[in-house]
Symmetry: C2
Subunit: 278 residues, 2 copies
């Protein structure tokens, strides 16, 4: 079993030092609790509700920043993997809403969010690369960020590429939902996990920021699509998940959720590629 700890945190907008300490403490506490994998929210290094691109630039960091070296050092205490969001300063001068996969050896991969949500488009540049799938001691881990999860083409892609765990740093803005229902994004995570037999760990943020209220919807879903842990409170959300189950896609001797795909008939999707782009 792999112990996954998602830390539901409330970063401070544009306060790099405070957020650095917040994340470091959160990783340390998770490691002390036996975490094999720690997932932190989207943009945990910077906060989210920037007034402008210029403001975001003041707290953007490169992937070789000491801040991420610190994550690796904390990870090393438990031979763990840390996945968390950062406001990335690209060498090209652009800002990216990114997620880093870090282990005791350092930064293994940085993914730049492909699907920017709403006003993020005024601050960040879209990524241009598919999500990485990284071999780790607990299995293959991929990462996407928040709104990315709502594009089934992408979650299918990472599952077909062999991901056993999808780590999703997220900031879900609170919206209306019927009483008694989970956040809709958590329902999407459950369905995506089931149909791909891939565990999904969504680390949401807590608190409010410049008037934006967050869902605090942190949710860990197992490879059958069932919620193993969820919380609406700040702090650690922990589940032990068997990631080996993601290696076998058969339902029965005659049914297999990957082998039963009929890609030759999904031409309608391919034909529509780009047709609805603005």
């Amino acid at each position: 079993m792999t112990r996954i700890v998602c830390q539901q945190l409330a970063p401070r907008i544009a306060d790099l030092a405070a957020n650095r300490a917040l994340a470091r403490t959160a990783i340390r506490e998770a490691i002390d609790a036996g975490a094999d994998v720690v997932v932190l929210p989207e943009l945990v290094t910077s906060g989210y509700v920037f007034a402008s691109r210029e403001e975001a630039a003041t707290v953007a960091i490169a992937p070789d920043d000491a801040l991420l070296t610190e994550w690796a050092a904390e990870a090393a205490r438990g031979d763990a993997i840390v996945v968390g969001g950062l406001c990335e300063q690209g060498a090209d001068g652009n800002l990216y809403n990114s997620s880093a996969i870090v282990d005791p050896t350092g930064v293994r991969a940085v993914y730049r969010k492909l699907h920017l949500w709403d006003r993020e488009k005024l601050v960040f540049t879209h990524g241009e690369q598919a999500p990485p799938v990284v071999e780790t001691r607990v299995g293959r881990i991929a990462t996407v960020v928040c709104y990315d999860l709502e594009f089934p083409e992408l979650t299918r892609a990472v599952a077909l590429a062999g991901a056993q765990l999808l780590a999703v740093p997220t900031n879900w803005p609170l919206g209306p939902r019927p009483a008694g229902e989970r956040p809709p994004e958590a329902i999407v995570a459950m369905a995506s996990a089931r149909i791909n037999r891939m565990a999904i760990a969504c680390a949401d943020r807590a608190g409010t920021e410049r008037g934006v209220e967050w869902t605090s919807g942190t949710t860990i879903v197992d490879t059958d699509g069932w919620v193993q842990a969820e919380s609406r409170e700040p702090g650690a959300v922990t589940a032990d998940v068997d990631l080996a189950l993601a290696l076998h896609k058969a339902h029965t001797d005659r049914a297999d959720l990957f082998a039963d795909r009929r890609p030759e008939h999904y031409g309608a999707v391919v034909a529509a590629l780009g047709s609805t782009k603005p």
Copy 2:
């Protein structure tokens, strides 16, 4: 608003006459209750747990069978659309697990299940055509069957093709699930509805058949992915759903669930096409 009535029925295995009467009565009752759209279970004309292909052939019907003409006549009483499953006798000699879309003018489309589940592969032949999307007086309706729903490529395809309502005749075999949770297939329907902004109506079957217990998981989901009606009991499940909402895919001025797709980066999916086929 469009009134959708799913009829959760228990067909009798290999008893064409009994099932004909069952479906006719169910359509009539739904029309009397104001249905604009009536959805019936998978293989409602024939039952499901066939001992052999030969047994299924004894109750297979062609799309021009009087049985479907009868559905059209019942539909005409309420200017309604009926979608339901049939064991189809193909002109090519094959049997298909099909779904018919019928309106007062007759059979508008017959779809042959693309993704056959488990032992269905011993009885039926896979379809070879993408799901139809049919213009009706209440909007564009598409249909897929049961296990098809678990392939997000297909549900995305029908949404991109303009479907406002996806009607899903289904026979969900009962499996274990955590207490208090919906059937997993219903959760997949909720997520698929949300991410495509397309209503989804799943008509499941009731009862047991040759030792197989069914979920009785009939569920109607609106265009935001919320369950508007569900029942574990036999009979009608009714919801009034605004299908016009499916015509607009924008979340905000700067976010649109179709325009935000980045198909040029889903190459990993395309590259994997066929790679996991046996």
